[in-house]
Structure formats: structure tokens, C-alpha cells
Amino acid sequence: MASETTAMGPSAGASTRPSAGPGLVARLRRDAPWWVLPATVVTSLTTFSGYALWTALLGHDRWGPYLSPFYSPEIAAGRTRASSAIFVAGAPLLFRFTCYYYRKAYYRSFLLDPPACAVRDPHRTYSGETSFPTVLNNLHRYVWWLVAIVVSFLWLDVFRAFFGTGADSGHIWLGVGTGVMLGNVVLLTAYSASCHSFRHMVGGHVDCFSCVRFGKARYQAWRGVTLLNIRHPMWAWVSMFSVWGTDIYLRMLQAGWFLDPHIRF
């Protein structure tokens, strides 16, 4: 059918733009080409993965009372030449890989399955999460428990950082580093506590809260996790950058670029 244009009356072309439209983020999302988001995700996750690999192979020592989250818990410290990160990285890595939010991110951005909504994906066949290895994403709930252990150790590290180690033991140490470590562990806790599988475990699987034992408490727990879960993508990204930032901060201290501003009493 041939394209045709029908001219209209004198009002044609008049502006209907209101003075206030959608917000900046909404406008950016609306006006940006579809490939901007996948490209950003690929760049961020690839750079983080490269940094994590580099840092695991490089190894790391404590700086004063501080320990990088990549190396906690120090399960190999002093016994092997390998860095703790090589042993510890599995749990957080698997947790993020099987995370419902990151699944969206890598299916869209790395596997282009689809690259964006209503944009044709390039694959001729498709099996979703019904075949190996993606079917193993169903095990996310077990990885959650492993990560819960790692996050518990990170809380312990923050506690140790506040109360000092070695010569500083017995003093309270309040430094920028303790704040950085505390912020990091809070964000990681928020990320793991907002997990969809955890939400299911605490009460999502219950159909009748008023019919089961501790139903009211479980309902409240489910509501609380749901409130966190609404921002799960945000916690996922922010906690990833906080781990990264904490390690970079400690490396800068180790390199002697500056001294950690702190109060000891």
C-alpha cells in the first residue's frame, strides 16, 4: 500500500507540549535507544568481573583493622599461598548469577534473549530455563544460605574494625574505613534480605497466614522482605559497587596515597 499524507487544517503542527513533562530519568529511558541499557549492563558487569578476578589472583593484606570484602572470611590465610578470595568468591558469584534480578540483566544484555522489550531476539531456538545450565537457577535458595554465612563474616569484620585488632585491640576505632565497611555490609545485607527466594522462604509459600503457626509474625516478615524486595535491582547494583569501592579504598590506603582519617579512643 502506497504511503500517503493527508493535509489537515490550519491547526496542524501546533505544539501540544506541556510545560512540565516526565522526569529526567523517565525522559532518558524513553528517548534513549534500546541498546543503551544492555551496553551499560555489559560494560559494568564485565568490568566488575575483571576486577574481581584480578583482585582474587593478586591477593591482599589487611590495612590496620580493615579487611576487604573480597577476602572475607580469611579461610586460607596463612595456610596456602592462594588468596582467600579464590575460595570465598564462589558463593557471592553464584548468588549473583542465579539472582532473579541479574538473570534479567544477563539474559537481556549478554544473551540478547531478548535484547530489549519488543526487540526481536536473534536466536532461532529457545529453551529458557528448562535445560542445563540455566535450569540450575532453581537452586538459588541454597546459594542464599551460603551468602548469608559470608555476610555474617562481613558483619564480624566490621565489628573487629570498630574494636581494633593487634596493638589497637581494646580501643574503639572510628575511621572513614569503618564507615565504608559498615556501609558495604549494610548494602549487602539489604541485597540478600531482599532476595525473592528469601521472600518465599519467610512467608511467600504460605497461602493462609491465619491458619499456620506464627502466621502473624511470618506475614509481617514477608511484608518486610517485600518492602525491601521492591528495590531489589537497586540493592543488587549498589551492593556490587560498594564491594568494589571498599576494596579500592583499602588498596589506596595500602598504597599509601593517604592516611585513613580516624579517631581512636
Binding site: 502506497a2 505544539s15 528517548d31 539474559y107 531478548p114 522489550c117 521492591i230
Partner: protein, 262 residues
């Protein structure tokens, strides 16, 4: 303002036709289509009913994105021509009208709400047991989620995938405190729950802002994991069955503390 509208019938000539429509403040895309129907192209086919985003009839793809025409303001679209095309996942009937009857066939496959035998009501249901179901009841069956889902749209797996709309329906039934059927296995085996790869496009296009992925599909996936991927639950079910508990009809069932057995 230029509006490019898809025109054509199956097997016939198809293409976009550009129309110049006078803009009016507050205008939505459906207004532009009505203007074209009234003044420029009286045989343009378009399905609509309420013009209030409640009937789900005027679904279309506006500038490549599945949306309701009655809820899409022209002044919120980027500068330039506005393109209006029919839903890509369903067979074309004419112009902007597609045949969505497959969805109603899927709906018939899902067993309806079923209370326990002898438990006919009326019931007193606690708010805590029902509040997460309200969201699912908001669905207007516009089928935008079905249209945007790449499993139906690109891979045409209609023979083994129900689609997001019907995962919402199943979730609403499964979470109902008075329903006793287990549809999770059917949703996995016949409905293709495992095919969904959580890309959340269904949630992004839902005009009723239902969190389809987070509140319906992922909970169903977790219930499926309870049934097939959780050895702890397997042992618990086995023990209950052996001890005569017999309450394993709904996957991860709970011991009742006072209410009727589930």
C-alpha cells in the same frame, strides 16, 4: 502531527500509511485514530470500548512499544511521527485488529477456583490472607504482556507456554487461602513456566502496573522449586505422608494451627 498507521489484511497488501492529524492538548493516540476514522479513512479497523484504560480493548504497538492507545498521551511521546501498529504476537484480522482468541483457549485449560469438598462458605477470610491477591484482580486482559513476551512474540511457543497473563491467574488461584487445587505442576509441564527467563518485559508494559514477574511468576517458580528442587521439602512431604499427615496436595503445606486443613 504525523501519525503512521498500519493498514492491511492477511494475505493482502500491508504497510504504514501516514496521516496528518491536528494536535489537541491532552490528546491520546486513540483520539488520533478516531480522528482518522472520522475524517480521513472511514474503513480503518480498530478495536476499542471504554477509552478509560479499563476494558483492555485498544492494545496496539505505539512507536514499537505495546501500549493501550487510550492511555498513551501524544505529548508524552518523543518528537517526530507516531507509529501505530497491531499486536505482533497475534494473527492479524485487519489494520489494528488482531485475533486474541488463543488466550481464551488457554484460560479454559486452567482449573477454576475450587474449595475443599464440603467447605462451601460463606467464608470469613482474614485480610492478611487475601491482600496480595488484589493486585492480580486488577488485570484487564489487554494482553500487552502476552504480546511483549518474546517466547510468544519471537518463538511462537503457543503450544507449550501459557504466557504471563495466565501465570498471574494461576498465582491468584494458588495463593488463595480457600483454594485446594495444585496447579503448579500443570503450569510447569504444560504451561512452560521454566521457559520464562524473567526479563520483566511483561511487567514493564502492564497498564495496570501489576508486578507480574515479581509477584506472580517468581513465586510460581519458587513453588515449582519447592516441588522439584528442594530435597528438604521432599523429605518433609515423605515423612508426613508416611505418618498419615496426607497434606501434601499443595506443595509446601503447613500444619494448620486452628483453621481448616489446606
Amino acid at each position: 502531527m504525523e501519525v503512521r498507521v498500519f493498514r492491511g489484511v492477511p494475505g493482502g497488501e500491508q504497510g504504514e500509511v501516514a496521516y496528518d492529524v491536528p494536535p489537541v492538548e491532552g490528546m491520546v493516540v486513540l483520539d488520533a485514530i478516531h480522528h482518522i476514522q472520522k475524517h480521513l479513512q472511514t474503513d480503518l479497523a480498530c478495536r476499542w470500548n471504554c477509552k478509560a484504560a479499563k476494558c483492555g480493548s485498544c492494545s496496539a504497538e505505539i512507536n514499537g512499544t505495546p501500549r493501550l492507545m487510550c492511555k498513551t498521551r501524544i505529548d508524552e511521546l518523543p518528537e517526530g511521527p507516531v507509529t501505530v501498529r497491531p499486536l505482533a504476537a497475534f494473527p492479524l484480522i485487519k489494520d489494528l485488529v488482531t485475533d486474541v482468541s488463543w488466550n481464551y483457549e488457554v484460560n479454559k485449560k486452567i482449573p477454576p477456583f475450587t474449595a475443599a469438598e464440603g467447605d462451601r462458605g460463606p467464608w470469613r477470610i482474614q485480610e492478611v490472607d487475601i491482600d496480595r491477591l488484589y493486585e492480580f484482580r486488577r488485570c484487564i486482559e489487554c494482553f500487552l504482556c502476552q504480546d511483549v513476551c518474546h517466547i510468544l512474540r519471537n518463538h511462537d511457543m503457543r503450544d507449550r507456554f501459557y504466557g504471563p497473563r495466565f501465570f498471574v491467574r494461576v498465582a491468584g488461584l494458588e495463593m488463595h487461602p480457600k483454594d485446594v487445587l495444585n496447579r503448579v505442576e500443570q503450569t510447569r509441564a504444560e504451561g512452560g513456566l521454566g521457559l520464562c527467563n524473567i526479563t520483566k518485559c511483561c511487567t514493564e508494559v502492564c497498564p495496570e502496573h501489576i508486578h507480574i514477574t515479581d509477584n506472580a511468576i517468581i513465586p510460581l517458580k519458587e513453588r515449582n522449586a519447592d516441588a522439584h528442587w528442594d530435597p528438604i521439602n521432599f523429605v518433609r512431604r515423605k515423612l508426613r505422608r508416611d505418618s498419615g499427615g496426607g497434606a501434601a496436595t499443595r506443595g509446601l503445606d503447613e500444619e494448620p494451627a486452628g483453621g481448616p486443613p489446606r
